[in-house]
């Protein structure tokens, strides 16, 4: 009997075993070998970039060795994998590519090393934009990441489908209603195409929260999810229910992609590598980087993309000032707190974020530069037909409340979206569930009802 219980438990706890088996100190030890973890997404853009950086760095610094740890995983799995690696000194990377929205949480978890003493002696640091520097700071105000690039978000639309549906281009919707009515027109004109994609649900992870939900929410309420002045999370907000109403209209109204697409963990790749290039999706609310999949170095090279695809600003709910909305995130290179080769790690971080490599990185990933010298470089400006448009959105862009609680609250948003898009809950019910989970995560005293 006892043994059988042991058996069940062993299997049930199998996933958690990994956590128990961690101890002992870091390998290498000579201070010259560093382990660099990064997300090897979709195509090989990141892998190629990192491999080249490794070779160049080892050549420029004889005696050093860079072990690349490419993690080929969807965004959410990358965060999980990285957190698991960071829990033990033997597996923790010395340098890691880190999403800015996790920096505060991971810094608080003790995974990241503060870089203040290094940046104070680094002449290049003055070349970075201030808001980009802020994105790499922790709750304690220390620098935990050197930014590589940022991004903005807006609407991508297929001009050929628009022409067929009789919608004049260039298209610039003035409010949410304009977006929905365009989608309805397209549905009527060509039932074979998906009118509108707004990332939603648990499968797309953070993309649902940010590209999807927050692009709506922050266009309906200036404060959005979090009141910066009182440092409290907002519950009972009308904007929250309004944003979920849009999700309901899109997914329950047959305007969005099918559940086969949205519940697949490859949801994001399916959209940009398949549905958009195949001309099966008319409007896509997505990031500035979407075109990197179609560049010659991308996963789905598409020569005519700049002729077929147009871009438009995402309007606010009723067209209220400033008329459009964008959100920004971005990635940094961070140093592992358990690293035994911190000086080499820092050298590598400055190496991959110098002007030449930042330029290459931002061109290859269709990113928005965080270095002034890169942003002003002619090579960058002419590299991508959409870079000027997406750079202009910086004027209206907002940042996520990147508190350590944000990742959990973001999950709460995804759960709310998923229950609405599958019809399991009404927007009001889902908003109530979200409010309860926010109170559960941060405590009643850190929320305010509006």
């Amino acid at each position: 009997m006892k043994r059988s219980r042991v058996v069940v438990a062993a299997v049930a706890a199998a996933a958690l075993v990994a956590l128990a088996g961690c101890s002992s100190s870091s390998g290498g030890g000579d201070g010259k070998t560093i382990k660099v973890a990064f997300q090897d997404f979709g195509s090989d853009i990141m892998a190629n970039f990192m491999n080249k950086a490794k070779t160049d760095f080892e050549k420029a610094n004889p005696g050093t060795k860079v072990d690349l740890v490419p993690i080929k995983a969807a965004e959410n799995d990358y965060y999980t994998k990285l957190a698991l690696m960071n829990r033990a000194a033997t597996t923790a990377p010395d340098v890691m590519s880190e999403d800015t929205f996790l920096i505060r949480a991971d810094a608080q978890a003790g995974y990241l090393a503060p870089l203040d003493s290094y940046v104070s002696k680094w002449s290049d640091w003055s070349n970075f934009f201030d808001n980009a520097k802020d994105a790499g700071k922790g709750d304690d105000g220390k620098v935990y990441g050197i930014p590589t690039g940022t991004d903005t978000r807006g609407l991508w639309y297929n001009k050929q489908i628009f022409a067929k549906a009789g919608i004049p281009t260039p298209w610039q919707p003035k409010n949410w209603e304009d977006v929905i009515s365009a989608a309805k027109k397209i549905k009527a004109a060509d039932p074979g195409v998906i009118p509108l994609n707004i990332f939603s649900g648990k499968a797309a992870g953070e993309a649902s929260s940010m590209q999807g939900f927050e692009m709506l929410m922050y266009g309906a309420s200036a404060k959005g999810l979090y009141d910066d002045s009182s440092s409290k999370w907002i519950t009972g907000s009308k904007a929250f229910t309004d944003a979920l109403d849009v999700i309901k209209e899109v997914y329950q109204g047959g305007l969005g992609p099918s559940q086969e697409v949205t519940s697949d963990t490859n949801y994001q790749n399916t959209i940009n590598n398949e549905l958009v290039p195949q001309g099966k999706l008319a409007i896509n609310l997505d990031g500035s980087w979407a075109s990197n999949a179609w560049l010659p170095t991308g996963a789905t090279p598409w020569a005519d993309w700049d002729k077929v695809m147009g871009t438009a600003k995402m309007p606010t709910q009723n067209g209220g000032a400033p008329g459009s909305i964008s959100l920004s995130g971005g990635w940094t290179f961070s140093m592992g707190s358990k690293s035994s080769a911190k000086d080499t790690a820092w050298k590598f971080i400055t190496f991959v974020t110098d002007k030449q490599r930042s330029l290459e990185y931002n061109i290859n990933t269709a990113g928005i530069p965080v270095r002034k010298d890169v942003a002003n470089d002619e090579k960058y400006k002419t590299s991508n037909p959409t870079s000027e448009f997406f750079s202009s959105l910086v004027a209206v862009t907002k940042f996520r409340p990147a508190t350590p609680d944000y990742p959990k609250i973001s999950n709460g948003i995804q759960v709310a979206m998923e229950s609405v898009m599958t019809g399991q809950a009404t927007p009001a019910q889902a908003a109530k569930t979200y409010d309860d989970s926010v109170v559960g995560i941060v405590g009643k005293d850190k929320t305010e009802s509006k």
Partner: protein, 320 residues
């Protein structure tokens, strides 16, 4: 796989326990004690491994379920003791009863009914079928059992997905099949797990049926019992113990099925196939709440324990 082997061992050991040494004079019992101690020595490495790899993780998971351990944030640096908070949250959560219900549906549908009955039917058919047919069928059935779980899971995904094999076959008959994994997620994973696990029950039952002495069935036949009567009144009671053992093993295996469900449906759409293991994974690794995830794992352990008690009781009464 490990769980199976270990559980078989348990069972074998369980059967020998009723044999107790007779009480005797003190010297004899001391000698006896010394002898059994000596006999226990070879077991030490095995017990050591069990303690390190089974008891250790269980204790750590049990402890973790009373903390706010997390993958990231301040709780990752220093987890705090939160008492029963994880369990209170779990019992208050609307997802939890749904998951328990789906776990039971999955368990009863795919193990108790699916694997058990399909395994029995196959074993019976193979006994009466020709040797050639038996060999062919067992190759196919055992094939599913031999496949690594991830391969079996992907094969099932490919079979049930919207443009998969099943719908291609249905299209051959002019039927437009539904999108099985989305329209009938529970049915799909139950059928997949039945397919994957039936071979195990079939092998257990084939072995058990071979042990039934033909004279007894022949005697029943002479007494005028027809086929169904012979099966229910003679064969089944004679292989009761194999049935209980088999039920226990497949129950415990099915309770912990994760890969198959995660690959096929990911617990979705929504939470329509979110069994307890998938829920535990989601809370621990997707939502970073390790403490909460381990609380679910502990509940799963208790559910398994309840089933194990029921089956062990059933086994005992038969032995007496």
């Amino acid at each position: 796989m490990t769980s199976t082997l270990d559980a078989v061992g348990t069972d074998a050991r369980g059967r020998t326990t009723p044999v107790r040494p007779p009480r005797g004079p003190k010297t004899r019992s001391r000698a006896h004690a010394r002898r059994s101690l000596a006999r226990a020595v070879p077991l030490v490495p095995a017990i050591g491994l069990l303690v390190v790899f089974l008891v250790g993780p269980i204790l750590s998971s049990f402890y973790g379920s009373f903390t706010n351990m997390s993958l990231t944030g301040s709780a990752a640096a220093s987890a705090e003791w939160v008492g029963l908070q994880n369990y209170i949250d779990l019992f208050k959560s609307p997802d939890f009863p749904v998951s328990v219900w789906l776990t039971l549906v999955f368990l009863i549908g795919s193990a108790v009914i699916g694997q058990n009955i399909v395994g029995m039917v196959l074993a019976l058919l193979m006994r009466s079928g020709s040797r050639w047919v038996g060999a062919l069928v067992s190759t196919f059935v055992v094939g599913a059992w031999v496949l690594p779980e991830i391969v079996a899971a992907f094969a099932s995904y490919a079979f049930f997905s919207q443009h998969g094999t099943l719908n291609a076959i249905l299209a051959g008959f002019g039927i437009v099949g539904p999108s099985w994994l989305f329209a009938f997620p529970m049915l799909s994973i139950i059928l997949a797990n039945t397919w994957r696990g039936a071979a195990f029950s079939m092998l257990v039952y084939s072995a058990a049926l071979q042990e039934v002495p033909p004279e007894i069935t022949e005697a029943a036949e002479v007494d005028g019992a027809n086929g169904a009567k012979r099966f229910f009144l003679v064969t089944l009671p004679m292989i009761r113990r194999s049935i209980s053992t088999n039920l226990m093993l497949i129950t415990l295996q099915t309770l912990s099925v994760f890969t198959l469900i995660y690959v096929m449906t990911g617990g979705g759409p929504g939470n329509k196939s979110m069994t307890l293991p998938v829920l535990a994974y989601q809370e621990a690794f997707k939502f970073s709440e390790l403490g909460y995830g381990t609380a679910i794992a502990t509940i799963l352990l208790l559910v398994g324990a309840v089933f194990a008690i029921v089956y062990v009781r059933a086994l005992k009464t038969e032995v007496d």
